[in-house]
Amino acid sequence: MNVSGKAAIVGIGATEFSKRSGRSELRLAAEACLAAIRDAGLEPSDVDGLVTYAADTSSEIAVQRELGIPGLRFFSRVDYGGGAACGTVAHAAMAVATGQADAVVCYRAFNERSGHRFGQAGRSVRADSIGLEFSWHLPYGFATPAAWVAMQARRYMHEYGATGEDFGRVAVAMRRHAATNPKAWFHGRPITLEDHQASRWIVEPLRLLDCCQESDGGVALVVTSAERAKDLPHPPAVVTAAAQGTGPDQMMMFGYYTGDLAALPAMRRVGAELWRRSGLGPGDIRTAILYDHFTPFVLIQLEELGFCGRGEAKDYVKDGGIELDGRLPVNPHGGQLGEAYIHGMNGVAEAVRQIRGTSANQLDGVDHVLVTAGTGVPTSGLILSAP
């Protein structure tokens, strides 16, 4: 059974994006979920499923209680950090396609800037299988996501001759998009390639402006069947394909021990599945929401997803290639570099707005949008389409 075309995102909701929300993570989750449910023209009592990230601190039952949902028929969590983003929609789509639930809310909410900051160094390891992965790295001070990505970025530069400026072009594009998105933290604050090159080293070869923001906020999405979606107020964003994927010898951001460091095999698998399940190809995609926690992985994703060949992304992003008027506009909302870092969930919401025609940086003729989740980890992806 294929879920393609059987489910749709019919509601989106978010809190403001800030550096200090001043509210609990559960409250952010409840606010975002309520906004999404109302946006869908539903009431909390219509919701019978909740899905979030394994990393989220607000349990499904806690959110259920706050929203006054009488009971759930479906709940699940998707693991591996930001790799969960599209996976939550994949799980929800499977649930509504198979009749396990009627209306599923996917959510992610955190105080990632004012509370627990992912960019700070890990200081201890758990005694489980993931903790053992970290144990090969943290004792060496190899302890931040920027460092883990930088290790692959260096090899990518070595293999293909990409430079720091090529990474910088991604940052410039994202900040340009954010500059005209009033919801973006960096609204009205574009940068130049010179700004990027002048920003300080975080972990060479990554500079400050290669790294996404740290943000407080929450985003939620309502998924229901394509059939029911027809009766709801907004044009649905139909789930044409949804996929999760891992690569060989998959680890949490430590894919260094076998194979090619200048690649993202988990994303390659997700891409192949999306194309196979949708029957579409890169040429059918009007805009892509590519997970941009760090700029180098936007380049590698373009290659893994087939928008260009291996090592060609540096040319693909030149001359505004991924900007609003480029060959493939990437992250019209400004991405996590420009809008906010909500673990990829805000990107899914932007894809829905592009299909509805309500984005701050609306593109014309949007039929299909590709969305990806966290890279370097087990990941997921979506193709959302106009009805």
């Binding site: 160094a121 201890s124 460091l261």
Partner: protein
Amino acid sequence: MTTTREAAAEPSLHDRLTELADRLAAAGERPAPPCPDAVNAAMIRNWAQALGDPGDWSRVAPPAMIQVWSMPGLVPAAPEGGPGAADRARNPADEVLRLLNENGYTGVVATDCEQTYDRYVRVGERLRSAMRFGGLTGPKKTAMGEGYFVTWRQTWYAEDGARVAEMLFRVLKFRPRERRGGSGAGGPVRPATSLDTAFFWEGAKAGELRIQRCADCGRLRHPPGPMCPSCHSVERDHVVASGRGRVHSYVVHHHPPVPGRTAPFVVAVIDLEEGVRVVGNVLRCAPDEVEIGMPVRVKFERVDDDLTLPQWIPADAPEDEPSAEPEQPALLEIPLTPTFVIATALATRDFTPVHHDTALARAQGAKDIFLNILTTMGLVQRAALAAVPGAVLKGIAVRLGVPAYAGDTLRLYAERADAATLKVRGAVSLGDHVTATVTLREGA
């Protein structure tokens, strides 16, 4: 780029601190708590025994003991001078320290102590001391967290009003970094181990870089795991790697601070000759000299008794670390038994619980009880006099490093810089506990 989305209605903490610091500095010198006892043979003997000091201090007190005479003791005496005297006799930096405490700068660590001696004080003398605020700098980003350096000065006078000694004391008041359990103060994060990985870390302790081998099909694998992904055997042994490899990729870490390493430092993926990869730091080489393909060899970095990390150095690096100071035997080697830590704290009249109460020390984030500064000063003096017997000390200036915990060993080294200056260094397993400059009187 500013992101002021909240208007600042009240003066900022920094402005309040600056205003307070200016006011305190302008107030000048004020009386310190009284010196409760005259300079006396009993306290000197107690001090010399606790510190293991072999000197003859029958007529004058050890100079590094100067602060002991004005320590308040476990139960401070009521201050002389009537109502309000207690307030006046407080450390002039107290108000600054309190304001910092109230605003989240709850951590404190002493960083510098500089004593200068006009003359040695004689047994039987009564001393008086006074303090003044020395200054405030910050906020600064430090390895401990963001903080302010607070300085004060204390002066000791003889009965005739002549100055006998002066001290500068500086602490860092910092906002403790969020700790998520685990790692010891300053050291690297400890790896978790399991039945499947312990052999690797045991090997490192034994000076072997061990790679798991499937006992059935012979496949080498790192990181190791319980089942061979090729033949599904659960029978494992290991080979000892040659320790030779090449840099496959690397990064130079600058920010943020991480436990156990000082930025900038290099982390690399190493291709071993045996065909597996490992991750480690590249040491003994400037970060900008590292490149992909560079030949390296293993060098075991002993962190402490429990942890040794396989590390990497350029293949052509000399076997032993090139060092300005070749590994010399320590001048003094002092086992820091709990008795030593506690006896010296009490002999210096320092009753702060972190120097004698293990549970309280741990509750404050320390690994164990640790040496107090008055003792460190005394041990620097002891090392100086062991290096230059009969010298007369004019001053001791110390910069404090890692804590000297009970259970560790303090090794003191002294090196004559010139006729009047001696460099003293005290090292423990975590690194340098103290680096000191001791000035000697002319002709000594």
